[in-house]
């Protein structure tokens, strides 16, 4: 209990310091949202395993550390940053270090007309109406301790706005680097992506760290995909293997919009990802795919919710996990098909491979269907590698190690191959090749 109090107190007193540093921004309208969120944070429960949503994910280890919410500026050179970008594959790169946007390390020259890429702080500074309209409207803070904290501390973060009718061919790479060499930090990336009517854009949200340090990332991303817009999102989580990563993504879909997300999670001692998508109008399309590969004592938890509130929407969900050593995985896939949502198609798959007898996965589909004319399916598998497949390879002269690698690579690739951002796909393929020794 006292741990929780201490955790809260550190962040509450941090807020006072943040306010001072905000200068002019503390006089903007959004600041009252921050203050309100801080109050909600103060009163929210810290999740424990008695809470159904956190049953398999004990995050109390977070409380064993004191995380500084306001880091001193980290001085990284562009050489430090270079190793995390994909050469010049991405035309636009936003670099954040310890949550702070660094324009001097970013590449945002020659943005095309109709593509707005800037920090939330900069957008707030100029009273951006899109930010005012959407920020904090989907990821609500009530009873959500981490969202409340994120909202209270909202300052920098990535704001991407594609104007109506704009088709942006080049993707934006948003790179969050944590430099926790000097002290344990909590960084709170807060992102807002708004794809307006008939627009088309893609984004990579990328989390890395300079070293294998202990720190805490609390990320909240809100996505609005307006009528007939297409938004392609990839999240690549390569945090330190000692870090805590808690993230929430809220997707708000309008008529005939199309949202795709691929989440590849590799890092973090404990990571928890909430991905919630809502069809607010007819005819939307939503794809949520994911791959997590964990080892040691890592814990990776993904909770997804697809809310079919309106008819004629399709959702496809495919998550895969590969768990080694004594790692633990959780997949909870909730799909709600509301009474109005006739002609819904909702497909969900979760496949896991346990490489060790100590690894554990808890997988649970949760379908709540209130409409009658719908097609829904779900399936979950937990297993070892297919023995018959292994034997087949052996009869071709391919022994245990290489055969295993081939099958695991194939299993993982299945999710990766549908990533449209080619440099990211290639990069993940390289990771897979290295891991599965081919």
């Amino acid at each position: 209990m006292s741990d929780i109090l201490e955790f809260k107190n550190t962040l509450i007193s941090g807020f006072a310091a943040l306010e001072k540093s905000l200068n002019g921004q503390s006089k903007k309208a959004f600041h009252s949202v921050r203050k309100e969120a801080l109050t909600k944070f103060e009163h929210a429960d810290f999740p424990n395993i008695k809470n159904e949503e956190w049953r398999h994910t004990n995050i109390s280890p977070i409380l064993k550390h004191t995380f500084n919410p306001l880091s001193d500026a980290s001085l990284l050179s562009s050489a430090d940053v270079q190793k995390f970008v994909f050469g010049d594959a991405f035309k636009y790169v936003m670099v954040f270090i310890n949550g702070k946007f660094h324009p001097e390390l970013s590449t945002l020259d020659n943005l095309p007309e109709g593509l707005i890429v800037k920090s939330i702080a900069a957008a707030n500074e100029e009273n951006n109406t899109v930010v005012e309209k959407h920020l904090g409207k989907y990821a609500l803070s009530d009873g959500q301790i981490f969202t409340a904290l994120s909202t209270a501390y909202t300052f920098d973060g990535a704001f991407i706005n594609v104007k109506a009718g704009k088709v942006i061919e080049d993707s934006v790479h948003i790179l969050f680097i944590t430099d926790s060499r000097n002290e344990k930090l909590i960084t709170q990336p807060r992102n807002l992506f708004v794809a307006e009517k008939n627009s088309h854009a893609s984004v990579l949200e990328h989390y890395v760290s300079l070293q294998d340090d202990v720190y805490f990332t609390n990320a909240v991303t809100e996505v609005v995909v307006e009528e007939n817009a297409f938004f392609d999102h990839v999240k690549l989580q390569e945090e330190s293997k000692k870090a805590f990563h808690i993230s929430r993504m809220e997707i708000n879909q309008k008529r005939s919009s199309n949202f795709t997300s691929h989440a590849v999670s590799l890092g973090g001692i404990i990571s928890r990802n909430d991905v919630n998508s809502k069809f607010n109008e007819d005819g939307g399309e939503c794809t949520l795919n994911g791959l997590f590969m964990i080892e040691g004592s890592q814990l990776s938890d993904t909770h997804t919710l697809i809310d079919h509130a309106k008819p004629h929407c399709n959702s496809h969900e495919h998550y895969k996990g590969i768990l080694d050593d004594s790692s633990r995985g959780v997949f909870n896939g909730k799909v709600i098909v509301r009474q109005d949502a006739q002609k819904t198609n909702a497909f969900q798959q979760n496949n896991n491979i346990l490489l060790s007898t100590d690894a554990v996965i808890n997988t649970k589909p949760q379908l709540e269907i209130f409409a009658d004319d719908v097609k829904c399916s779900h399936g979950a598998t937990i297993g070892q590698l297919d023995e018959e497949a292994m034997f087949y390879l052996k009869t071709r002269g391919i022994g245990d190690d290489i055969g295993r690698g081939m099958l695991l690579h194939a299993f993982a690739s299945d999710v990766v191959k549908s990533i449209k951002l080619q440099p990211v796909r290639d990069y993940i393929e390289t990771i897979l090749s290295r891991k599965f020794n081919q």
Partner: protein, 251 residues
């Protein structure tokens, strides 16, 4: 002598399936094994390939003078044994090319030979593909995934053509094939035949044996070879079925 099976007994899940098999195969020979459903044909094939579900309880198998039963399945393959499966498994995400490249190089490694470079490999693959009249696109696709029954069987023969085994065991590679596919499969086998290798074809149908002419035909029943003969035995079996042999055994 390439293969010598002596008084082989094998169990699966505690059930005795092979009950004293004796069979000798020399280089240059083609042997056909026929027999009713459930008589143990696939079991024999799997035991020779080294499937771990089958437990050899008695008997010996020598291959090229080596004790086959002591070799791991992958080493058997590297020593030149190839099994074309009755029901080839699907390997989603593993491309045919990747499978074969890895297989070729693993086999070469075992034999102390150099790895094959990508250009040579591709050339070799192209040539073998013609042999089985296989479509290029199947190369890039995942092994057997979404293949039709006939494509799967052809793919097995294609793999055989690439790996050039010394002893090929074809488990009902002809079942379910239309006459064109059957001809392709049979041609493949015939073209690959040499004085240095041998083939065991497991089949239910004399039809295949019009194309692949066996030197010997064996009838397997209840885990034993109950009759052996020349190619005319296959014709007789097709006409009369297996009952007359079973009766003879009982008598």
């Amino acid at each position: 002598m390439l293969l010598e099976i002596k008084n082989l007994y094998a169990n699966v899940e505690g059930k005795e399936i092979l009950r004293g098999i004796n069979l000798t195969v020399n280089k240059g020979e083609i042997h056909a094994i026929m027999g009713p459903n459930g008589s143990g044909k696939s079991t024999l094939a799997n035991v020779l390939a080294g499937h771990s579900s089958f437990e050899v309880t008695k008997g010996e198998v020598f291959y090229n003078g080596k004790n086959l039963l002591e070799l791991s399945p992958e080493d058997r393959a590297r020593e030149g044994i190839f099994l074309a499966f009755q029901y080839p498994v699907e390997l989603p995400g593993v491309s045919n090319t990747n499978l074969l490249k890895t297989a070729v190089n693993e086999i070469r490694k075992y034999r102390g030979e150099e790895q094959m470079d990508a250009v040579d490999f591709l050339q070799m693959i192209k040539q073998k593909m013609k042999l089985v009249e296989l479509d290029d696109s199947l190369l890039r696709r995942s092994v057997n995934e979404g293949f039709s029954g006939g494509e799967k069987k052809r793919n097995e023969i294609f793999q055989m053509a690439v790996l050039e085994p010394t002893l090929a065991i074809l488990d009902e590679t002809d079942s379910g094939l239309d006459i064109d596919a059957l001809r392709v499969v049979a041609n493949g086998v015939t073209k690959l035949k040499s004085a240095e290798n041998a083939t065991i074809v497991v089949t239910h149908y004399q039809r295949l044996l019009n194309y692949i002419v066996p030197d010997f035909v064996h009838v397997l029943s209840k885990g034993r070879i109950v009759k052996s003969g020349g190619k005319e035995l296959a014709v007789e079996l097709e006409e009369k079925g297996y009952d007359w042999i079973k009766e003879k055994v009982v008598a």
